[in-house]
Symmetry: C2
Subunit: 378 residues, 2 copies
């Protein structure tokens, strides 16, 4: 019969992290619970939606947790409900005591709340994952890479593999990360400091966004373990599991052009505001595009909606080289691409009105490149 | 043909105020537009959803507006769309010019956006309202009164009159404001400094909430004009019209008890947190109630949900007088009531388990009273 006391805020924060994996309306009822597993070493909180699973460990030796375990055990509690109850408690600490099988009392100040739980044996077992030589990355580096690519993955299930992000380690040190929805693509390369086993996996972009939310900036490094159809990201206290997407990721290398006819550099923020203005009107047009014109070194943007109105704007460019050009595209793709770039300046390179164009940050060494497919208009 | 230039932020703020009256999906298409009426004195922006109408005046003499009118005129522009376009403009000022009938060009920096509008003649005329002796109130006083009562109005259309707030001026100086949804009631009385004509109106609570959002705290006083089926709140720049509810408001005076058998004082915030804890569990019970028990001067709260669990809590009371009591009620009504009270201490007075109980702020002079009806349980 479980009995422990803990600092309320610390407990609540750990619960909320675990809850990111828990869906309130899961088809499998037991997955709407949080598993609370108490040993003399500490408490493990587990949540899962069948795709992502999170284990969060609170150690008795962690001073801020104020955790005092009197008696170990395990129980399942309705996650949302339990978190609401904990956050409503009046005192800075709470006492958690199992008074009969699967029934607990929370005591805090003068408040005494009895809750019914479920048998911990009902909870599905998570896959055991071990590796002698896990990949170790700085959390910030991994989160940056996710930020730069995951947005370009597809949101549509028509080609499920494109809803993932393709991560490939080759030559034991070259990491390539790619995502595409077939209209735009984002690719980031990185050379690892330490050699690791090669891998080639496709991770759901949604799982990666959750990873970024769960692994806060105070967690310096993350260990990565691979299994057949799963990947595990692990820090001292948090284990984050996600299933992998099955199937072959398309060969994207052949899509990336290397010779161009028109090259323009822009201030990133100027270009982004201009595209946001253009988008307000292009949203009201049939094909939703903005037209970019390059004429004698002058770059301008145009939208024409017969019903609503027009935009005409000369864009501030930092440099223009090559041929004149007229090209149409969806401004949202360019806005998304600019949001993913950390540099103040960007270079956009065109082949022709019907071929994808590339975006790279200024002074890039071929490590971060994005591709946007134009829309043919007549 | 209209032509003016104006400070973008000032214009945007005035547009956003006006937009509070404009519904994007109004059944009458012209009501999704904002009317822009330009004279040499300034610009009037008008928006309406048929229930509420707002006129917002920007004077040429208002220095912060940076308004320069070159040529007057009027036009209708799709409100949401136009506001999005204005907020996207790059420069601190914008130039608004009608280039042909119902077609305008906005110029700001290097950006040039052409928009199509509609003929201003299509816009419905607002009722002309004048009074020689309008009621003048401090905005803050009126907003406080709204805050203390409007929440208690009904959200259901089954008895439309209860969706309004009843305002009555009698003896030329005694203002009484009441709202009730038949489960709870809130009444605020106020003695006006200056005598005015008596009135008796029922204003939709929704309109009053919009009024509070539109009349910001920098507007010191508001003039109130009455017409047959409308009321107008007016400041220097803003005219806020709302229709009134028709029908007789029920006689609420007879509902308010004056003799009690049990009287308890609480710290407002303590009581509110306890009720919020109780509500988490009472939401999971069939009748959604919390049970309050008074036994030998000790007050306690109890919820029992057979499926989920229980709450037992001794409440910190400041004083208890009178008989022992057991009474059940919906904790949300008590939480709402406590939120409306500005005082740190509240006094709750009971007659019996089946009669409504009252809430008043500590040291109240009979000016602010709330009523909550208990729920009979067996």
């Amino acid at each position: 019969m479980i009995h422990f006391s803990i600092n309320k805020s610390y407990f609540l924060q750990a619960l909320n992290t675990t809850k990111r994996a828990i869906s309130h309306k899961n088809a499998i009822p037991v997955l709407s619970t949080v598993k609370i597993d108490v040993t003399t070493e500490g408490i493990t909180l587990t949540g899962s939606n069948g795709q992502i699973s999170i284990e969060n460990f609170i150690a008795t030796k962690e001073e801020n947790a104020g955790l005092l375990v009197t008696s170990p055990g395990a129980i399942l509690l309705e996650a949302t409900f339990f978190i609401n109850v904990v956050s409503s408690l009046p005192d800075v600490t709470l006492d958690f005591k199992e008074i009969e099988k699967n029934q607990i009392v929370l005591t805090s100040g003068k408040s005494e709340i009895t809750l019914k739980g479920k048998d911990a044996e009902q909870y599905p077992r998570l896959q055991d994952m071990q590796a002698e030589n896990p990949l170790v990355l700085e959390t910030k580096v991994l989160k940056d890479v996710i930020n730069e690519t995951a947005f370009a993955a597809s949101l549509q299930e028509s080609r499920p593999i494109l809803t993932g992000v393709h991560l490939v380690l080759s030559d034991h040190q070259s990491l390539k990360t790619v995502a595409t929805d077939s209209h735009r693509l984002s690719q980031r390369k990185l050379s690892l400091e330490k050699a690791s086993d090669n891998f080639d996996v496709v991770i759901p972009s949604r799982s990666l966004r959750e990873f970024s939310a769960v692994f806060t900036d105070d967690i310096e490094t993350v260990e990565i373990f691979f299994a057949n159809n799963q990947i595990l990201f692990r820090s001292d206290n948090i284990s984050f599991y996600t299933r992998l997407l099955e199937g072959n990721y398309p060969d994207t290398d052949r899509l990336i052009p290397s010779e161009f006819n028109t090259v323009i550099s822009f201030n990133r923020d100027h270009l982004r505001s201009a595209m946001e203005r253009a988008r307000i009107l292009s949203n009201a047009t049939q094909n939703g595009t903005v037209k970019l014109e390059v004429t004698n070194g002058v770059v301008s943007a145009h939208v024409n909606s017969p019903e609503v109105g027009q935009v005409h704007e000369e864009l501030d460019s930092l440099s223009v080289t090559g041929e004149d050009l007229t090209i149409s595209f969806n401004p949202t793709y360019l806005i998304d691409a600019l949001k993913a770039i950390d540099s103040d300046q960007v270079t956009i390179s065109f082949i022709s009105a019907v071929r994808p164009f590339t975006l790279v940050p200024a002074e890039d060494q071929g490590e971060f490149i994005q591709l946007i497919t134009p829309v043919r208009t007549n």
